[in-house]
Amino acid sequence: MSGRLPDSPTQIFDPKKPVKIHFRGRSITAFEGDTVASALLAAGVDTFSRSFKYHRRRAPACLSGQCSRCTMNVDGRMHIKTCQTPVREGMVVEPQGPIAFDPAGAADAFSWAMPTGFYYKMFYKPQWFWKLVKEVIRAMPGNMAKVKALPAKAHFDSINLSPDLLVIGGGLAGMEAAITAADAGVRVVIVEADPQLGGFEAFQAEAGFRRTQASISRLAAFPNITQLTGTRVTAIYPDGLAVCMQESPSQSAQDCVERSYLVRAGATVIATGAGSMPMVFAHNDRPGIILPEAAQRMVHLWGIKPKGRVLLAGGDDHIGEVALALYKQGVDVVGVVDFREAGLRKDLQSALADHGIPVWSSYTLTDTRGRRRVTSATVTSIDGLQSKRVRCDTIVASSGRYPRHKLLGQIGARMLYDAALNFYLPEQLPANYEAAGRLLGLEDPNAIMRQGAHAAINALKHLGVDTNTAKVAAVEPADEAPMPVTLQPVIEDVQLKSKTFVCYCHDVSAKNIEQAIDEGFDKIETCKRYTTATQGACQGGMCEANFAHLLARKRPALSARVLPTTRPPVTSMSLGAMAVGYHDHPQVSPLYHTQLAHGGNSLRMGSWIRMVDFGDHEAESLAVHSTAGICDVSMFGKFRVFGPDAEKLLNRIMTRNIEKLNGNSTFYYTACNEEGVLVDDGMALKMGEQDYFVTTTAARAAVTEEWLARWCREENWQVNVVNVTDTKAGISLAGPMAREILSKLTEADISGEALPFQKWMHMEVAGVKAIVSRVGFVGELNYELFCPASQGPYLWDAIMAAGKPLGLVPFGIECLNICRLEKGHVLPGIDTDSFTNLFEASMGWALDRNKTETVGKAMLDLTTHQAIKERVIAFSIEGRSPVSEGALVVDGTQQLGRVTSIIYSPLLKKTIGFALVAPHDNWVEGGTVTFWYDSGREAQASFAKPPFYDPKGQRIRM
């Protein structure tokens, strides 16, 4: 097998199952169980990406999903963390931008010219120079992904889960929590970001690995535990929703590429563990400088030997343990640097000495050299007096543990700095949330497991589960103390240089931060914005602790190591996966397909898809006036309102008095809001005592339902409101031949005497029971038929069949628009806006002055005698006009208003319309209306008094 250590019990890849992946045009043999990053490291790849500002070579630092240095394009998807992406046969992996030779790498040499905030201080004089410079700046960043379409079949999906307990983190603490809860019988979901369960302990040599394997087997025995591995919890939102993102849940690139699990759990245990903080020293970003967890994972999980001579550095005993473990795997360990004065635990010291590995206590790392990767390190005593160079090809360095706390911040538990421990611990967690494990600073595996079990017991109590069962009760009380961390000492001028990186994502150095503080940016929020530290792809995951420590060094009083605010997501999530749950559902009428079959041209309008026309709206309007037309009016809001207080309710919203409606009568009504602004209109049909059928405009249907419910609630009225908008189809049949057509289909007496204008009746039309009313919207003899939605298409076809010989045509909303403008009907929301009151809409006639409790009436009364600010006027132009809706109405330099509706009437041979305008002397018979449109063209129209057609209304009464 190629370049791997001999088989070991801790390895998680299968050397018998090779997998081929493609990297920069060459084929690389990996094994099942490898991640992309482990495969590339095993193949000797040194550089994974180039850095943001200076285009420095970068390679994975953590191999555990925290840093952003290993991100590449995988199978066409940008910014994929290769360290957590399992390999798959045929996978194509490409770096984002040049990595071998990067001409922009020259930026590294000019970093002296780029102090913090240099953009703010340069390039802005003169203005044209900035315009040039900004285009150069845009092209500069390293590791920029290209925006390209995904393969055609790639898609995203989403699954909802509602377990009793959600456990976040599949390490020892999380697994123990899951097992304890599952044992009590509740349903558990456990989420782990790595492709496998185990967490930190899984790569702590053989003992640790065996411990996790035991937990994994115990856990697998529970059918009530769902495992989601390779899944990151990206956020917990204010309503308790935990969003989990799983990369490539299936093994084919053609398939689902990212899946979201939307988890709403009864209780949650957060056991996200701790990571290592990078050490602060000059040139601490070179390829080959890695965190202890990366070295441990390489060796124990994937059998990859860290390259060449390995130097370790840190300030805790863990670094000594790692050094020993690496040595035992045959790694060439050249020394251990410990910045503590006391140095390593005695047993570790003697064990290392036994193997001839030098240990430098009270020493720290101050600098490194190397081009493609690190080749040597400078090791300096912490008093700064002694210094030596150590040749090495890999540096494993960390300044201590740091909790992966971001989800705690999202549930509202701030992290507070414990000065005794040098560790951040959460405030009181909200109810239903528990935390456990290395996240809370524990180190001992047994303590971690006990605490995990205890977190589960507390969670079970939240869930109301009996925790006195034998197994659960057997768990000993947990009283575990966090282990302290030793702060890294800093040697001022030696260690803090312009290439001592704190924020790797944005190439922000310690010097940058110090300079920012000197310039007055000494609060964490202003400092992070000015330097852009913590704002990169890892969102502070790698740098915020060092950032806070540096700030606290310079300004101990100002910021007692406050961390920047944590906001979702913890790790990035793709737009595709986020968008899955949202669907746009336009509404269609029950007559939609029928009308398409009749040649209708449809258009999405608001939430509805409606028919614009059936080929020629002008011809349709002429047919309505000469023979007959049929139109779909199903999108009207439709309500049945009945019960003892029905009239009170309707009188509350209608400006006319419903009590004046006699049996079998209908009327047109308007409705205002509390400001007196016209918001709706429609028809009311009296069906019986305290029993009405009411229509509203299409746009208003949903609001009307809320509105009616609100008044019933406030007044405690006894009314039933049944929304029949979707259950009834509506057909408008209009034109001089309408009666003749309808009479072919019904036995009912529909003569002008039996069913006159503004009356309605139940009847069977073509065998379909319908409410048929006489209305006047289009200016001709006009029936509106409402029938069950399922029978709508049949009724439409029956009417079409009966009417065709008499010249019946279907018509759409454009024709409807011509007809209503000919009749001078104002449309609320089209000809008026959210400021136009009933008077300003020129519809004062629709207000019953004697009513008292109508919504809006008080304001209309109080403003009756005030000057009108804008009003609706009608106008006409001989022939056709190029003016369209939105044209301004002007008088010289004065802007008076705008055209709200305008259309050519082939019947009148005029262009007619409405405008919403400020008061003006011209608004009298014969006055001129001047339009300003298309950047300054002018046109004129005559002020007019509608209706333009059949002013006496004889035709609607036929």
């Binding site: 204010p238 309503d239 809320e706 419910a709 609100r710 609630r713 008292t852 109080l862």
Partner: protein, 79 residues
């Protein structure tokens, strides 16, 4: 700080299932003048803290609910 609205019919539900009806206000009496009306219509207490407000459960039971909510912490309490 779980942000959920307590609906008497449907239980604790996601706020996006509701339409927000604004803070509860007393409508002016029959003899109120224009200034009183304008203040009622356009001006709000807009409390940063607990306020009584209306929510309409449009993706649930279709009922109006009066809720006492802390607009800063989203805590909901009984009257």
């Amino acid at each position: 700080m779980a942000f959920l609205i307590d609906c008497p019919n449907c239980g604790r539900r996601n706020p996006y299932e509701f339409r927000f009806g604004g803070e509860c206000k007393e409508a002016p009496g029959p003899d109120a003048d224009l200034n009183t009306w304008c203040e009622y219509l356009y001006f709000n207490e807009n409390m940063s803290g607990f306020q009584q407000e209306w929510w309409y459960h449009n993706m649930g039971c279709g009922d109006w609910v009066k809720v006492r909510r802390n607009t800063v912490t989203h805590e909901i309490t009984e009257d």
